[in-house]
């Protein structure tokens, strides 16, 4: 009469999966771009729209790309960490200004500090789509060969910096 145990066993299996499910975040979307080449771009600079920044210039360096906008409050929350990081000079940080107004973005940087070597303007959000961006802020770690090695969704925290981003950067810089 083992057939009567079948529903119980099925339920136990389900409960185990649900328990594991409780530890996961259903809204976190892993990026399919990890370990793939970062989409190349050449976009106008925020500071001087007449000039362009070409991502190919970064070959041979490890760098961070941080997507932000002046209308985004979590970006404001994470910004001091970037300012601090830029002062330490460990890794160059480039900004991607997402769907913003130039004046507002420049004022934001003036008020809060500008940790970026340069910031590019992605006013229509097309580059963001290529990077699989679905909100701001998001931060990418890109290696010497132009390959994306890590993506952090949401504002970066001290823990994320210390535990994941900085060790990875050090590793890549060897």
């Amino acid at each position: 009469m083992t057939k009567f145990f079948f529903p119980l066993i099925l339920f136990i299996v389900l409960a185990v999966f649900l328990a594991i499910g409780l530890t996961r975040d259903p809204r976190a979307v892993p990026s399919p771009l990890i370990d793939k080449p970062a989409p190349a771009f050449a976009l106008p600079l925020l500071s001087d729209p007449g000039q362009r920044f070409d991502s190919k210039e970064m070959r041979g360096q490890v760098w961070l790309l941080n997507a932000w906008a002046s209308w985004c409050s979590p970006c404001r929350a994470e910004h001091p960490l970037f300012v601090k990081l830029s002062r330490s000079g460990v890794v160059p940080i480039y900004g991607l200004n997402y769907k913003d107004e130039r004046e507002k973005a420049l004022k934001w940087l003036r008020d809060l500090g500008d940790p970026y070597v340069a910031t590019v303007s992605d006013t229509d959000g097309r580059l963001a789509i290529d990077y699989g961006l679905y909100g701001v802020p998001e931060t990418f770690v890109i290696d010497r060969n132009g390959v994306i090695r890590y993506k952090h969704t949401g504002p970066i925290t001290e823990e994320a910096l210390q535990d994941k981003i900085l060790p990875l950067v050090k590793e890549l810089q060897k």
Partner: protein, 154 residues
């Protein structure tokens, strides 16, 4: 010269009321036929910033941008499959509401069918075994007649 202008002037005068009368509302999209195709595809894509809404239905900026992307790609002649690949290359399988048929989704896609087949097989086997097992004591004549009448009435 005046006679030359008379005909066009008359025509203008005749058509003027028609020109200023309320007109039929224009479709919002530049190309309504294409738009139907755009929306059909967008209906099967998840809007990542919203909880469980489609790119077709969501009011968010990202959804509007993605719809624009789809529109442009369709105009450029890309197929539905190519556009879906474009999206999954950037956002992963999570963005598709129709899960692809891969190793990891075999259970999902074939599960219901297998379950149905199993259900009927089990039912058949069970009923056969049941019929073979249970045996009846014969009923008396009157009981038999009564049973038949009642069964007929359902």
């Amino acid at each position: 010269m005046r006679r030359f202008l008379l005909v066009p002037a008359l025509l203008l005068l005749l058509l003027w009321p028609v020109a200023i009368a309320a007109k039929e509302a224009q479709p919002l999209a530049d190309d309504p036929v294409l738009e139907l195709r755009v929306m059909a595809l967008a209906e099967n894509l998840r809007c990542l910033v919203c909880q469980n809404e489609t790119v077709a239905g969501s009011n968010s900026d990202l959804a509007a941008d993605l719809r624009q992307q789809i529109r442009e790609q369709m105009k450029a002649g890309k197929s539905d499959q190519e556009i879906n690949t474009f999206m999954t290359d950037r956002y992963g399988d999570f963005v598709l509401f129709l899960p692809p048929v891969k190793m990891t989704t075999y259970l999902l896609w074939f599960g219901p069918f297998l379950l149905l087949a199993a259900g009927f097989v089990v039912q058949y086997v069970y009923l056969k075994r049941r019929r073979d097992r249970a045996s009846e004591q014969p009923l008396s004549e009157t009981e038999q007649k009564r049973v038949e009448t009642l069964l007929r009435d359902g």
